[in-house]
Symmetry: C2
Subunit: 268 residues, 2 copies
């Protein structure tokens, strides 16, 4: 039984998931949210499935202890590797970012030729490929890991020649494959949207899972009749596993709202 | 009392410290070495002092349990933040990479104008600046964090326009400051040596701490009369905190020797 008064839990490896939190806040301003960024062990995208699953279970456990009514795994790599393990272990609903993104891509494509970019872990897991194929078996999916996009976004190099050259190197092959839809399969990539759009041109629709995920959260709360009752104002709080100050500084690029009430939690 | 038969311990946040291990193996082929790469929590360079100190203590503890006679902290960020804490806690000698690198820079400079590049953590710690100033108070030190160099090296983008553009962006200001010596203050940077050299030109000497550190290890063993007695062949082994296979694959770029006998250890 879900307690409607409980907050939503949003879990990410670091700051990137704040783009997902942002979209949820816009769609569901009445909900309270606790965000957990595993900044002491970020990034997940370069790490193995076993390690990511272990970290995801630990972080989800901390959020569950805080009484969340639903868990959003805002990190694509954690969604790719750990969603099944989390669903098996937890009694609350668990939503990832991959299924909503895949659904939107399938809805957007005309030619059925879909590109997916993400971290090494996300692409290696083949989770996007499998999900898209299960939704639309006739579609063709072309994937590419783009490991430099995360550090570029975190460094703030989101315009200019370096990201543009990196994007054209990573995306050259995909353009030959004549995709008409490209899934930004990592929460950092929306920050490079302009550069990516310039590289792929106007004929390719970019799919950002943040908004699609907020829609899925809304649908799930609706199905469970678990929207927070009106009354006391909704609250936001942040848990991090490394220095709160760094998180506040980098996080500003990702969330269009104040980041305060940051608490350090020990996961080591 | 140091047991001469014990192995040397080399600790790094990931694969980068293999460049230091490589230099030690060349200088001291008779010594056994246990390498520990904290690949489950890599990188350290973006994380806070407290977190790096906690991780470094944990990793050092694992190596001490294996009977090492001396600890080399091959990671610049861990050397910058954690060397004092480790020396306080451990009874064996602890060597970092910063002091040897700083010594070599002071010996190399003619003009006394020294540049240092490293991770955000290493530069923020001001450890290089302080060490160089204590060795040669009249020197001037110019620092710059280059966060994209690690992912570029790990991605294997060590030649071509992207690393060249990144290098000229990071180093432009330093070149105006007319340095004649540049410390590569991160174990990954030697992989970008060619690009960095091209950017700074032939008038600037590049200092790589790996070799300087191996010399310091040799001197310490000599002072303690703790060289390994001749006899049974020396052994090398590797401990990692994430997937051994990934380590083996990426590690090849850093060590000119076989990487086998890799064992996973749990630090979470």
């Amino acid at each position: 039984m879900v307690d409607s008064n409980g907050p939503l839990g949003v879990f990410d490896s670091g700051v990137g998931g704040l783009t997902v939190m942002d979209a949820i806040m816009k769609r569901l301003p009445g909900e309270s949210i606790i965000y957990l960024g595993d900044t002491a062990r970020v990034p997940y995208g370069t790490k193995s499935a076993d390690t990511v699953i272990r970290y995801a279970k630990g972080c989800a456990g901390i959020l569950v202890e805080r009484g969340i009514k639903l868990l959003v795994v805002a990190c694509n790599t954690a969604s790719a590797y750990a969603i099944d393990a989390l669903r098996k272990e937890l009694t609350i609903p668990v939503l990832g970012v991959i299924e909503p993104g895949a659904r939107r891509a399938v809805a957007a494509t005309q030619s059925g030729r879909i590109g997916v970019i993400g971290t090494t872990g996300t692409i290696r897991s083949e989770r996007y490929q499998k999900t898209i194929k299960s939704l639309e078996p006739s579609s063709r999916v072309f994937c590419k890991a783009c490991p430099l996009f995360v550090p570029l976004a975190e460094e703030g190099w989101t315009t200019g020649s370096v990201p543009l050259l990196a994007a054209s190197t990573y995306l050259a092959e995909m353009l030959h494959q004549e995709i008409d839809t490209l899934v930004l399969g990592c929460t950092h990539y929306p920050l490079l949207k302009r550069v990516i759009a310039e590289t792929v041109g106007p004929g390719v629709t970019l799919v950002d899972s943040a908004e699609a995920t907020s829609e899925a959260v809304c649908n799930t709360l609706s199905e469970l009749n678990a929207f927070r009752p009106e009354g006391s104002p909704s609250q936001r709080s942040f848990l991090v596993t490394d220095d709160p100050e760094n998180f506040e500084r980098t996080g500003r690029r990702f969330l269009n709202d104040a980041i305060d009430a940051i608490e350090w939690v020990d996961v080591s």
